[in-house]
Symmetry: C2
Subunit: 373 residues, 2 copies
């Protein structure tokens, strides 16, 4: 194997020198390395040179081979999704973002192609996901330190492994980190058709927790309701259905929820607050309507509501990374067993720009776009 | 003493009976009690018969004497303030309120006048405050169970003892219950001229905590600033001064605050949020502008702000009552030593309606109105 060859070479070269006449000339280390270096294959990558509209500024380019250092792993990417936050990073509106020129993408799954001489426990053919996720998953080969690769079982469908880190992990963490939920409890959420929303429904159901779901008024709302109920939703309402004096009168078998999730803002956030029981918590993790959250004074004082926020990227930079890796493994098992699912469309990497157009909503509503390499 | 006399009487009557001819007639217990009962003096009280405008619906009436039962204490009230929440209770807009007809008032200080036979540790002449505070302090004599009376030292000025439970206790609890503050930290608040606001400034200063204070734009703002600085404020801004791109550029020596207090809502709440550091908490305890709190999605997600509420009445109904009593005692010491002060106007009880007009703001800005008996 390449890694073992490199170790042998390095060992041999450690005290290497050669003679020029009577003069002993030590071999310069980088000279040795030039001979022994393992290089990645050339890669195809989606890059952008400045912040702005992704459909105008991204292009597919070839990246020359790079050296795989001792503690590094070269991964051949298998699949990587286009998430809204990827779009925001390219637009330059995301608080943490790479400095251009940069490669797009943040999560994905790949197969180990080659490893540096110091790498232990990872071998070519292993499946890995970047964790904590890092920038630049929209390229066919990636070379990064071993520490950022999390080895996973290969029995989960590739497209699920590629998408586990951002949306399902957000859903799972939010169900765990704010309120202690027990079987029989309830949660309420808006944006229930989003990928996080669908994961929350399914993960809540697995815990025996009721989910109360709010969706936008739109054509086909009945069909959407039916689909969410099939996923495990207990109650689904459109916003206009909830234009009543007391939304809690609408509750069927679900108890008043202690925990709510908001990814919309505006009126949809107010509806979540109305459903919450006294002392409940609403967690904001998105703002699809681009409207702020508005809260009455009495909600704070007399209803004792708490409002919090959740940002996965910050969470993963804490000391809970190991806990997150365990959670990802558990999510992958659920995915493998068909207990956690959502719609995706697999798109060959060369068709990136048509996938991007779909992800940007230019072609109506489409499932999550997942690039395959 | 009356209490001891009653015990003696009861003891003597325990097996009492009298003879009518040859028939032995046992004395009925309530007959005995009618003889032995200690009664309160008649009281003057501010009562209202229905919810509505306090200035129209309140009247001073005489309440007939009531029996002081074994575990009860009759207190001659010395002083009781008119707080905004007292007004709200009469208006019927406060979530927890007595059912009319009822006596107004919620806190105050009184002197023990007489005690029931089973009362231990309280004697005529002792000073007490109702704790947890209870309805009906606007009357000259009150008879309630011993358990609701908290004995205090008599060395604190009467008007401070009368007002310690609502506003200073709110300030003290809020500085303690949400964020661990250390010397050198900072807090930010709006409504800084309110009684709670003034207490927060002084209590923060005692802890070595900086206070950043926001006041309304109004005539005499400079003088108000000066007065708040004298109390111990580190920084005082009017709202219009803070109409800048980055309010934190306005900060002098104070660090970014981890904790903020909002009793106004609307723009004044937004300003508190802007000052908070990442991960900070804003506690809402009032809504003087009658405008809601509006929060951007990014404040929750990327700035990780938490929004909470505080309601003293709910707090005191928890198992922390003993801790509150200790806190009250510490506040009374600060008041006695002149380290915690605020403006008050003492008004004889008979002039209740003119004090009420001042408390309702009908006569411009006036200090806290405190009724004396």
């Amino acid at each position: 194997m390449a890694a073992m060859k490199l170790i042998a070479l390095k060992s041999a070269c450690k005290t290497a020198s050669f003679h020029l006449g009577s003069q002993k000339i030590p071999l310069r280390r980088n000279y040795v390395r030039a001979f022994s270096a393992i290089m990645s294959p050339p890669a195809m990558a989606v890059v952008y040179d400045q912040h702005g509209p992704p459909d105008k500024l991204t292009r597919i380019v070839e990246i020359p081979p790079v050296e795989i250092k001792a503690n590094e792993v070269c991964v051949k990417m298998l699949a990587a999704p286009i998430n809204p936050s990827d779009v925001n990073r390219i637009e330059g509106v995301y608080p943490v973002r790479p400095v251009p020129p940069a490669v797009g993408g943040y999560e994905g799954v790949g197969e180990v192609y080659n490893v540096g001489s110091g790498v232990k426990g990872l071998f070519p053919g292993d499946w890995v996901i970047p964790f904590p996720p890092s920038f630049g998953t929209w390229q066919s080969y990636i070379v990064k330190e071993q520490s950022v690769w999390h080895k996973i079982n290969k029995d989960t469908p590739m497209e699920y492994a590629a998408t586990v880190t951002v949306n399902p992990l957000t859903a799972s963490r939010m169900l765990k980190d704010f309120v202690q939920l027990n079987a029989g409890d309830a949660i309420v959420q808006n944006g229930a058709t989003s990928m996080v929303g669908q994961c929350i429904i399914q993960l809540a159901r697995i815990q025996g927790v009721h989910s109360i779901n709010i969706i936008r008024d739109r054509a086909g709302a009945d069909e959407i309701k039916e689909n969410l109920m099939k996923l495990g939703a207990d109650e689904v309402f459109t916003e206009s259905q909830l234009a009543v004096k007391n939304v809690k009168d609408m509750l069927g078998i679900s108890p008043e929820p202690a925990l709510g999730f908001n990814c919309v803002g505006g009126n949809a956030a107010t509806l979540v607050l109305k459903f919450l029981r006294s002392g409940g918590t609403m967690v904001t993790y998105g703002g699809m309507s681009k409207k702020p959250v508005t809260v009455s004074t009495s909600s704070f004082i007399f209803k004792d509501l708490s409002l919090r926020g959740f940002w996965l990227q910050k969470w993963m930079s804490t000391d809970k990374a190991d806990e997150c890796r365990d959670m990802i493994d558990r999510l992958l098992v659920l995915m493998r067993d068909g207990k956690l699912k959502y719609d995706m469309e697999l798109v060959p990497f060369k068709d990136f720009h048509s996938a991007l157009d779909k992800a940007l909503g230019k072609l109506g509503s489409n499932p999550k776009q997942v690039l395959t390499f």
